[in-house]
């Protein structure tokens, strides 16, 4: 890919092909932790770390070990172990090296293991046949898209929840409808001619 194609790929991963609003990955943390703005940003930052590192590690493992020995069918099992141990390592590293960051991200890190955006991106970079640089750019921009959307959504949600919502729609139902309207807006970014 040329440089300009990489830029286009990055922007479409952030906006048009957004992980949450278009690919439906990571919907659980999207609805779960978007209640407060601070926790949404914390989760988003932790996800950037984990998605980028785990996609790169999975890419290396796939092309250096699984493919040469012909064990591609083990990929799901290997990736989930990579993600689980990576989350654990990042947690221990942050606790020791950057205690301030650990205190703000700490509680979100264990939750990331079961965030399907992480496993989904690791699977995607291999099935799309990216090289190492493309994997890096794609996973970083996917994760940036996650942070971007979860931040905007948390600010919207705090406004929506203060409003007079019918009882049956309180909580998740109205949040899903808000997300649907956001998805419509984000899908329309695709009409821009980049």
């Amino acid at each position: 890919m040329t440089f300009s194609e990489l830029i286009v790929m990055a922007f479409s991963a952030i906006l048009v092909q957004n992980v949450i609003l278009n690919q439906f990955l990571g919907t659980c943390p999207f609805l779960g932790v978007s209640g407060k703005r601070d926790s949404a940003v914390g989760m988003g930052l932790a996800v950037i770390f984990v998605i980028t590192l785990s996609s790169l590690t999975s890419w290396l493992l796939y092309y250096l070990i699984l493919e040469p020995v012909g064990m591609q069918y083990m990929s799901t099992l290997v990736y989930i172990l990579v993600i689980a141990s990576l989350v654990q390592i990042i947690e221990m590293f942050l606790k020791k090296a950057v205690p301030g960051l650990y205190r703000s991200l700490g509680i979100y890190l264990p939750l990331i293991t079961t965030n399907c955006a992480v496993l989904g991106t690791a699977k995607n970079v291999v099935s799309k046949g990216f090289n190492f640089l493309e994997t890096f750019i794609f996973s970083l921009s996917t994760a940036a898209g996650f942070l971007f959307v979860i931040y905007i959504f948390s600010t919207l949600r705090s406004k929506v929840e203060r409003g007079d919502v019918p009882k049956a729609f309180k909580g998740i139902p109205i949040a899903l409808i808000t997300a649907g309207i956001m998805a419509m807006i984000f899908a329309k970014f695709g009409l821009l001619n980049i």
Partner: protein, 207 residues
């Protein structure tokens, strides 16, 4: 009686999608065709039953501190089996939702049932619980995909060539909007609101 409630609670009272709101990613993503919903529902049902059974059998052997990694490995093993079987026998269906089949590993419903139920109950209760939850999940998936496929494309694809088609005259009643991502969010929001309304009305009546 107790055995029966273990089975039936997954269908409505503790339905994984409508009440616990777990496993929303596949619910939103693959419900554009009834066929997809059936395939995904059966795959989840299989993984759920097998992992609940195994986890319940090994629950006394596994040390408490490492139980989550062990559960994930058990689940991932069964998911890999499903992937291989579907790739071999229903390649079209598999290629359409390959990503979401492998994402069953991180589906909160399965890990949630392992942690909340199978690790504390015997194998028979665990299987009943898994079958109830799996069927509850499948039924809601089919309901959503029926609405989306009928309104979106004017057809109902039950399995392979077995399909109904109403959209003979390209009627404007059917709109592609319903199979687009935004519609998935809005429709699921409406369905969750409806189930909440029904449940709260039931509560009022029982008082």
């Amino acid at each position: 009686m107790n055995k029966l409630t273990n089975f039936t609670k997954g269908l409505w009272r503790e339905n994984p999608i409508l009440v616990s709101m777990l496993g929303l990613c596949p619910t939103l993503a693959i419900t554009v065709k009834v066929e997809n919903a059936l395939g995904m529902g059966l795959a989840v049902l299989f993984v759920l039953v097998m992992s609940n059974l195994f986890i319940s059998l090994i629950r006394h052997i596994v040390p408490d501190q490492i139980r989550i990694p062990v559960y994930i490995v058990v689940i991932a093993t069964f998911v890999s089996m499903v992937e291989m079987v579907m790739d071999a026998y229903v390649p079209d269906l598999y290629s359409r939702m390959a990503l979401f089949i492998s994402l069953i590993v991180v589906n909160c419903i399965i890990l949630g049932r392992a942690e909340a139920f199978a690790s504390k109950h015997n194998w028979l209760d665990s299987i009943l619980d898994a079958v109830g939850m799996g069927l509850g999940f499948t039924i809601v998936l089919i309901l959503i995909s029926l609405i989306r496929e009928t309104l979106g494309t004017g057809s109902i694809t039950i399995w392979g060539d077995l399909a109904l088609n109403f959209n003979k005259h390209n009627s404007p009643f059917f709109s592609e909007f319903y199979v687009s991502p935004p519609a998935a969010f809005i429709l699921l929001g409406l369905i969750l609101a409806a189930s909440k309304a029904i449940n709260s009305r039931k509560e009022v009546r029982s008082k």
